[in-house]
Symmetry: C2
C-alpha cells in the first residue's frame, strides 16, 4: 500500500446555501419541520425563496463543509460532488478549491441547476433546511475518482447521498474502492429524517462497511429506534469508532471498550447552528489523521463547531488552524 | 403636487457583493488601493476572484444598500437599477423586494452578466472593492420610471453612476424628473477616487441640482481639494443640507447656518466596514422623511451604520426598526 498523499476525500451533495433569518411562524406557514432537512422540488424551492427575507449565499453541502473545515485546519483534502456549469456552481468550485482542496469532478453541462439549500435560521439560532438537489442527482459512477480515493487515508461519505439512487450507487462504489485500496471509510448520518428514510440500509452499512461513524443524538435514536444510551451500546457492537454530537452537551466518543465524553467549546453567542455537525467531523477527522488521541480529536471537533455556530453559514470565517491555536 | 406615496427612490448600480477576508499583502499583490473602489473588467475580476478565499455572496450596490436600509427601518422605497436575467440578478431582485422595496426595472436579457463587486476585508475591518459593472452599463433612459420618481419625496442617486456614460445620462434625467415633480434630490459622493474622476461635474451638480449631499471626509477633501474644515465652508455656500461621515469620529451635519456634530454609535466589534456610508444615508433619509430633527437624523444614520459594520455584508442582518428600538 502506497503512503496516502491526502488525509480525507469527501463525497457529497455539492450545494450552495441560501440563508435568511425567519420567525417560527414562517416554518409553520410552509409546513417545515424545525431542525430538519427536507427535500423540495424546483417549484417549492422558488415559492419558499420568494417568501424569505434578505439572504446570504455561501457554499455548503455537508461533506463539502467538512472537507473545507479539514483544509482550513491544515489537512490535505479532496472533494467529489456534482455542480452545474452555472454561477452558483462556479462559486461552489471556487470556495472549496480556495481552501486548498482538490475538486476535479466535472460540472454537468446540461440538466438541472446547481443544488440549493434554503436555510431558515429562527431566533433560537436553530436552522431548518430545504434542499433542491438539482445537479447533484447527476453524480454517477464515472465521477468516483479511484485514484483520488486510493490516495486518501479516509473516504468520508454523507448519508444525504442516499436520497438519490444514482448517488447512492456512487456512494457504495466509493466505499468499496476505499477498502480495496486499504483505506478507511467514515460516514455521517446527516439527518434524523434521512436516517428514517434509509434505516435498514444504514444499519447494514454501519455493520459491514463503515470504520468511523458520525451522527448526533437524534440520528442515533432514529437509527436504533431507542434512547441514546441504548443506541450507544448498539454502536459499540457494530463499529470500532463513532463520535456522537449532543449540541451544547458536547459529544461522546464510542469505542468497543469505552465511552468518552467531550465538552462543547464555549461560544460568546450562537448565531446559526448550520454546519455544527459537519465541522465537528472536520475537527475529529483532522485529529485522527494527525496522530491525536480520541479525546483530542473530540476537542478539535468541538472547537471547529464552535467557530461555525458563531456566524451565519457553514464554512469557516476564521482560518481554523488560527482559531484552534487561539483557544489552546 | 400629489402627496408622495414613497419616501425614497434610489437609483444605482445593481451589484452583488462577493466578500472574503484577505491580508494586506493580497491588496499589494493585486495592486489595489486600500479602502477604495476600483473598476475592473471581466478578466481582471476573474483573476482576483480565483485568488480570493472562501466567499460570502450578498446583494450590494451603494444605493441598493441605502434603499434596503430605509425599507428595513420601515420606510417606503423603490429602486431602479439594471441586472441581467441570471442567477445573481435573480438574487439581487429577491433581496431588494424581500425587504418591501419596489423594483420594476426589467433585467437585461443579453449582454454582460449581473455586476459583481469583489470585496476584500483586511484584518483592520477595512474593505477594498473591485467592481465589474457588467449589466449596469445597460441602465438607460427608458429605465428611469417617471411615475416612480414623481411618487417619492426623495430621489437618491449614487455618484458611482457617473462611471458609465449611459448611466450618467439616466442619472441626470432622474434628477430633472424629480425636480419637475416638485421632489428633492439627494446625492451620495460614493468614493474619493470616483470624486476625483468626475470632480468638475460633481461640483456643478451639487451647486445646481442637489438638495441633500452625503459623503465622507475623504470625498469632501477630494471634491474641494482642501482640508475638511475648508470643504465644510464650501458646502455651506453650495448646499442647503449635507451629512458628512467621519468613520469612528461620527458625522457632521452641514446647513447654511450650522455645523452639528453627531457621535458614532458604539459597536462591540467592527467586522466589515462595507456599507457604513450607505446605511448612514439610509438612517438619515428615513429620519428626514419622518419628521425628525437633523440631530435625530444623524443619530439614526449612526445606528444603521453601527448595525452594518458589526457583520460581513452591506445589507442589515437585524431588522433596523428593531435594532434602533433596542438602542434607545
Amino acid at each position: 500500500m502506497k503512503n496516502a498523499t491526502l488525509d480525507v476525500v469527501g463525497i457529497g451533495n455539492a450545494i450552495v446555501d441560501v440563508i435568511s433569518t425567519a420567525e417560527d411562524a414562517f416554518l409553520d406557514k410552509h409546513g417545515m419541520s424545525k431542525g430538519g432537512m427536507m427535500l423540495v422540488d424546483a417549484q417549492r424551492a422558488e415559492a419558499i425563496y420568494a417568501d424569505m427575507g434578505t439572504t446570504i449565499i455561501m457554499s455548503g453541502g455537508s461533506a463539502g463543509n467538512t472537507i473545507a473545515g479539514i483544509a482550513s485546519l491544515g489537512g490535505k483534502t479532496g472533494y467529489i460532488g456534482k455542480v452545474r456549469d452555472d454561477e452558483f456552481g462556479h462559486a461552489f468550485r471556487h470556495d472549496i478549491t480556495a481552501v486548498g482542496s482538490l475538486f476535479r469532478t466535472p460540472p454537468a453541462t446540461d440538466g438541472p441547476a446547481t443544488a440549493l439549500c434554503l436555510i431558515l435560521v429562527t431566533p433560537d439560532s436553530q436552522r431548518t433546511m430545504n434542499t433542491y438537489l438539482g445537479a447533484c442527482v447527476n453524480l454517477n459512477a464515472q465521477d468516483i475518482d479511484e485514484d483520488l480515493i486510493a490516495s486518501a487515508q479516509y473516504t468520508y461519505l454523507e448519508g444525504y447521498l442516499y436520497d438519490d439512487s444514482t448517488a447512492k450507487k456512487a456512494f457504495h462504489l466509493a466505499s468499496e474502492m476505499a477498502h480495496a485500496a486499504g483505506r478507511r471509510v467514515a460516514l455521517s448520518l446527516s439527518d434524523a429524517f434521512c436516517v428514517q428514510r434509509h434505516r435498514a440500509d444504514f444499519l447494514k452499512l454501519i455493520d459491514h462497511h463503515v470504520d468511523v461513524l458520525f451522527g448526533n443524538e437524534g440520528e442515533i435514536e432514529a437509527l436504533f429506534e431507542a434512547p441514546l444510551d441504548e443506541g450507544l451500546k448498539w454502536l459499540q457492537k457494530m463499529t470500532d469508532l463513532a463520535a456522537i454530537t449532543r449540541g451544547a452537551s458536547g459529544s461522546v466518543i464510542v469505542t468497543k471498550t469505552e465511552l468518552t465524553e467531550v465538552a462543547a467549546a464555549p461560544v460568546e453567542k450562537v448565531v446559526d447552528t448550520t454546519g455544527a455537525g459537519d465541522l465537528y467531523a472536520a475537527g475529529f477527522l483532522f485529529g485522527l489523521t494527525h496522530g491525536k488521541s480520541f479525546a483530542q480529536c473530540g476537542r478539535l471537533g468541538s472547537l471547529a463547531a464552535a467557530e461555525i455556530i458563531s456566524h451565519f453559514g457553514a464554512r469557516p470565517q476564521t482560518p481554523l488552524d488560527e482559531y484552534v491555536a487561539s483557544k489552546v
